[in-house]
Amino acid sequence: MTQSNETLLDLYRLMVVTREVDLAVSEIDGHWHGCDGEEAVVAAAYMGLRDGDTVAPHYRGSLVAAYARGADLARLFAGIMGKATSYNRGRYRSDICGPPEFGVIGLYSGALGPPLSYATGAALAAKLDGTDAVAMAVFGDGSSSRGDCHEAMNFAASLKLPVVFLCQNNQVAISTPSRDRVAGTVADRALGYGMPGVQVDGNDAVAMVDAVAEARARARRGEGPSLIEGLTYRARGHFVSDAADPRPRDEVEAWRARNPIRLFRDRLAGDGVADTAHLDAIDAEVRDQVAAAMAQAQTDPEPGADVLGADDVYA
């Protein structure tokens, strides 16, 4: 599958947004789980969805997913600080939970795994309604060990639901290397469910977006779910202020050298999709946008006592 130049530049832009969001939030939140090195997987996962589609993003990249679905960056940033202007007025955190009004299903508790089933349910709804909407169910390599992952995949495969399962495999879970605690490869699991499974170079933006496009098209045609494993690398710590990184220095360096934004940039320039000046302009525009959104969020008001809403628990 080949993407249009426009799509490629949108993808590039979203990768730059991912990086700039990372940089901006890192300054205000030591507990921010960044996407440095994983921008290609993140941006490819959430780009180009349609109205009616649903995404249950991996928590690492969740804010980018919400942005890609149309949420306002300033309000998302406000949600990291719990400001009154956030989409939920400060009741919950936007770093792991996007606003549902944009078709984003977040972590409503801290548990990884269950959102894979929620995405499957959204796909079931699409099938019941006879639409061609799809659901993206994105999860980390560590999260692939949750029973939810198995239950969602078997359920989706046996009912032929329009789900794209995407593993954002950064090869580590907090401190635990996936080679130690994820037996086999995630992509190989697809075979056991009789669905297509493919391992993709997660630092190759084009390969990623092609794989996602193919899986989505298949889902929209009613042919059922697929599994994509984007093999990438967490270039920094588990969260911003995570000091210790026990991973081999040379491994870290080798992956950092394969920075997906830089690789993609070189390719776009090399293939003549855009010249350096154009790409620089995108960079600058994104940087300004992110900075403005952050400045806005920081001056936004804190929530008042009424937001607690002790009687608001029921719809």
Binding site: T54, Y108, Y118, A122, A125
Partner: protein
């Protein structure tokens, strides 16, 4: 009116709501052509199966309750047949913690109109009896419904399906096929969150639900022979609790017995007792008695099961003691 069992009335409500609203569908293990264990979905396949609205699921409780949450978020009104309440422990995260939090955490943007129905209770079906509802009272955002009669089952199931929150609908196997009563046909909705005074009395209040309501009524008959007039309050909805009705009753009788099938420690009977000693203390003339099973898993042998579960005699005894205190 139609003479229906609890099971029939429940299914009638589901069928009625499925006719009324195309967004309502049902899924669970073996609920399709098979009709569901204990006929929990009898007839639904014939009427709605071809529309794809009666879905057999794999044995993946977290997966399909989770799918229910996801479908509800997407605008459907799923009913999940969990088969047995015992399996709530496998799905409380999806149903309760996540499902119950979504509305609040999204500041009202998300709605999760999901019904999980589940069979439980000591009865003719020997096993899967455990009554696990009490936990959910401590999980914000979910509702818990436990009808005692066929009519209530019908009206409360309709209301549960129309409710925009995750609702646990409890189906007691000791009531399931245990006799028919006249049940209103067609549209029949009983609001959630309202208790029902099933018998009036001035000497002592007995609060109960599900099978315990039946036994409390039998206890009231026994007590009447001794000249004690017991009022029986059937909670019907356990979360949210109808505080008013309970407090109003105790304000008149001054005495309270709470009968509950969940084990005593940490059971929902404790919640009712705590409510009354907090807000109705001035009216209390006697200790509040909780009549509930001991703190052990449901034993297997039929005689042990009987010793385990409170019966009318034990409820009456507690009420007599309260009335005399």
């Amino acid at each position: 009116m139609a003479r229906q069992t609890f099971q029939e009335a429940t299914v009638a409500a589901i069928a009625h709501e499925m006719r009324r609203d195309r967004n309502v569908f049902i899924m669970g293990e073996d609920i399709g052509a098979f009709g569901g264990p204990l006929h929990s979905c009898k007839g639904l396949w014939d009427e709605f199966g071809a529309q794809g609205r009666v879905i057999d699921t794999p044995i993946s409780e977290g997966g399909f309750v989770g799918a229910g949450v996801g479908a509800a978020l997407a605008g459907k009104r799923p009913i999940v047949d969990l088969m047995f309440l015992e399996f709530m422990g496998l799905v409380i995260h999806q149903f309760g913690l996540d499902g119950g939090a979504m509305h609040y955490y999204s500041d009202g943007k998300a709605k999760v109109p999901l019904v999980v129905r589940a069979k439980y209770g000591v009865g003719p079906f020997h096993g899967h009896a455990y009554d696990f509802h009490s936990w959910l009272l401590n999980v914000p955002g979910v509702k818990v419904v436990a009808p005692a009669t066929p009519s209530d089952a019908k009206g409360l199931m309709a209301a549960s399906i129309r409710d925009d929150n995750p609702v646990l609908f409890m189906e007691h196997m000791g009531l399931y096929h245990a006799g028919r009563e006249e049940v209103p046909e067609g549209e029949y909705v009983i609001p959630l969150g309202k208790a029902d005074v099933k018998r009036r009395g001035r000497d002592v209040t007995i609060v109960a639900s599900a099978l315990m309501t039946k036994r409390a009524l039998a206890a009231a008959d026994i007590l009447a022979q001794d000249g004690i007039e017991a009022e029986v309050v059937d909670l019907r909805t356990l979360a949210p609790l109808d505080e008013e009705t309970v407090l109003e009753s105790v304000a008149r009788t001054g005495r309270l017995v709470v009968a509950c099938e969940a084990v005593k420690s940490g059971g929902s009977a404790s919640e009712v007792a705590a409510l009354v000693v907090e807000k109705g203390f001035a009216h209390l003339k006697a200790p509040i008695a909780r009549v509930a099973p001991p703190n052990v898993p449901v034993p297997f042998h039929r005689e042990l099961e009987k010793l385990y579960l409170p019966d009318a005699g034990r409820i009456a005894e507690a009420a007599r003691a309260a009335a005399a205190a």
